[in-house]
Amino acid sequence: MSSVRVFDLAHSRTGDKGNTSNISVICYDDRDWDFLQRELTETRVLEAYKLIAKGPVKRHEIRNLKAFNFVLENALGGGVTISLAQDIHGKSLCNVMLAIELPGYPGRK
């Protein structure tokens, strides 16, 4: 049992609509899905994005694609058209997800 980064188990891409960001988490290996379902909670994700997004955060499970979709509200500085950020679309935000460390990884069985 050791800690693991989301990066080690999954890949990710960010999309945007208005002031909402959606960030996918897609397992490389189907066997990691249950661990991510247990540990990569909405609370943990909102905590990781607290400097960026006000939330709320909603997690959608897409089991058939061994994936999750996290929808972060109030995440893009008011939206692409009025945001003062350099990355107005938030396209780089998936990298925050990938850096999240999760405890108690049991390994693939």
Binding site: R13, L51, I62
Partner: protein
């Protein structure tokens, strides 16, 4: 008569600034029947509406000329039909511009079918009670500064325009996946009762609508997700059978990668609830969808599902909302970050003393905090670029941000360099409302031809 053999629909652009050569290569080597150019972002129509106000001939996507000049000879020679929303705020103007390009290329009198009716500004002006989806407030508050209002039209209208038989169909705002679904509906005579087929076609459209984002672009990561010859990544197409069978592939001999991983990333992209991806054509559900790698760079899509389309169309309203001003300057070497932070304080103090106020203001240390915020423990880089940005209704206030940042060369901490010229851009904000379908009056006309 509906088509019995398989159909190949290619993707030639996913934004108005998309790369152009891969679209030509797809037309030349991809053996495609249709080439779709999706060129409108959320606020693009609002911006092009302003161009049309200045010049009634303009208002279509400015890159239309260069794009069509490149692909038209090949498409006309091979009989590839073009579908595009490059009409933006002026679909008739876009059609006329396309016809001029065809004529100048020696391709003769090319008729273009035009889809009209997405511009609903006159309709929503009379409906101040419509609710803004973003904040629940009535549309009324935005009406005085409204610059545009465009409904996302569906595939049915584009399919009806294709029925006119022209080599090209030009539209304004149409939902991105609908542009790709339209040739399938047109060729196979799919109806709005064929939910399984609409679902498959919509999923295919969503996979294709960002061109290279499904062929290794926005994906590659050295050592983890390697992509071969990403420099030459090809654009995708869908092979579609009359029963809704879909295989996604890309230009033969091109670089890039198309596999289950790239398809999964692109499918979830810009989606919220995977059970309810709402387009004008259906409500797509991907929670049983299955990808299968059939061969190198060929992925089969199965079991997309859909529910009936909703009674409303989403309308994006654009409105002028002040200005954003920006400035940047760099610091390097010993104490670079401390000097940059001091400079930021000085600039903000000067703006305050000059009496400027901002609705929103932001200080970025590029290299440390600009993308993901300042958690107080980012490692200090050797060099840092300071960026300040402010939004204000007063253009002078916006300009002053860049002006005072540039002044750091002579009036700030020691050893700054490379300040940029002050930048000011007009803010065209967008919000959305839902408009009952029956208010939208659509029409298809043909420019040119007999």
């Amino acid at each position: 008569m509906s088509r019995t053999k398989s159909l190949r629909v290619g993707s030639g652009a996913g934004t108005s600034d998309d790369r152009m050569v891969p679209a030509l290569e797809l037309a030349q080597r991809g053996d495609i029947d249709y080439l779709v150019f999706e060129c409108l972002a959320e606020r693009t129509v609002a911006r092009e509406n302003q161009s049309r106000v200045k010049d009634p001939e303009k208002g279509y996507t400015p890159s239309l000329h260069e794009r069509l000049r490149m692909v038209l000879p090949t498409c006309m020679e091979k009989g590839i039909r073009i579908v595009s929303n490059m009409g933006a705020a002026n679909p008739i103007g876009g059609a006329r511009a396309a016809r001029r390009e065809a004529k100048d290329l020696g391709l003769g009198d090319m008729p273009v079918a035009v889809v009209l009716g997405d511009d609903v500004i006159d309709i929503v002006r009379t409906m101040p009670q419509l609710t803004l989806m973003e904040n629940g407030e009535p549309l009324e508050s935005l009406l005085p500064k409204l610059a545009s209002a465009n409904a996302y039209l569906g595939a049915d209208l584009v399919s009806a325009a294709l029925d006119r038989g022209t080599p090209m169909v030009m539209t304004g705002r149409v939902a991105d996946p609908s542009l790709f679904l339209a040739p399938m509906m047109h060729e196979f005579r799919w109806s709005y009762d064929d939910y399984a087929k609409l679902a498959q076609g919509t999923a295919a459209g969503h996979l294709l609508e960002c061109t290279a984002s499904v062929t290794g672009g926005c994906f590659g990561w050295p050592g983890v997700k390697d992509v071969p010859d990403l420099a030459d990544n090809g654009y995708p197409f869908a092979d579609v059978t009359p029963d809704g069978g879909i295989v996604i592939s890309k230009t033969p001999g091109s670089g890039g990668l198309l596999n289950v991983m790239t398809c999964t990333e692109q499918l979830i992209y810009e989606m919220h609830d995977p059970r309810a991806y709402i387009t004008p054509d259906c409500v797509l559900d991907i929670t049983e969808l299955k990808f299968t790698q059939e061969a190198a760079d060929r992925v089969r899509v199965e079991r997309a599902r859909a529910r009936p389309r909703t009674d409303t169309l989403k309308v994006t309203v654009g409105y002028a909302d002040g200005y954003i001003g920006e400035g940047e300057v760099s610091y390097g070497g010993i104490g670079a970050v401390a000097r940059a932070k001091w400079a930021a304080e000085i600039i903000q103090e000067r703006l305050r003393r000059r009496g400027f106020t901002y609705e929103d203001f932001r200080v970025d240390l590029i290299g440390m905090t600009s993308l993901h915020g300042d958690n107080g423990s980012r490692p200090e880089p050797y060099e840092v670029r300071l960026r300040l940005a402010g939004r204000a209704q007063d253009r002078k206030a916006a300009y002053a941000v860049g002006f005072e940042t540039r002044a750091m060369h002579m009036h700030g901490p020691g050893g700054s360099g490379g300040a940029c010229e002050p930048r000011v851009k007009d803010v065209l904000a967008v919000k959305s409302v839902l408009l009952p379908r029956h208010f939208v009056k659509t029409e298809i006309i043909v420019e040119g031809g007999k």
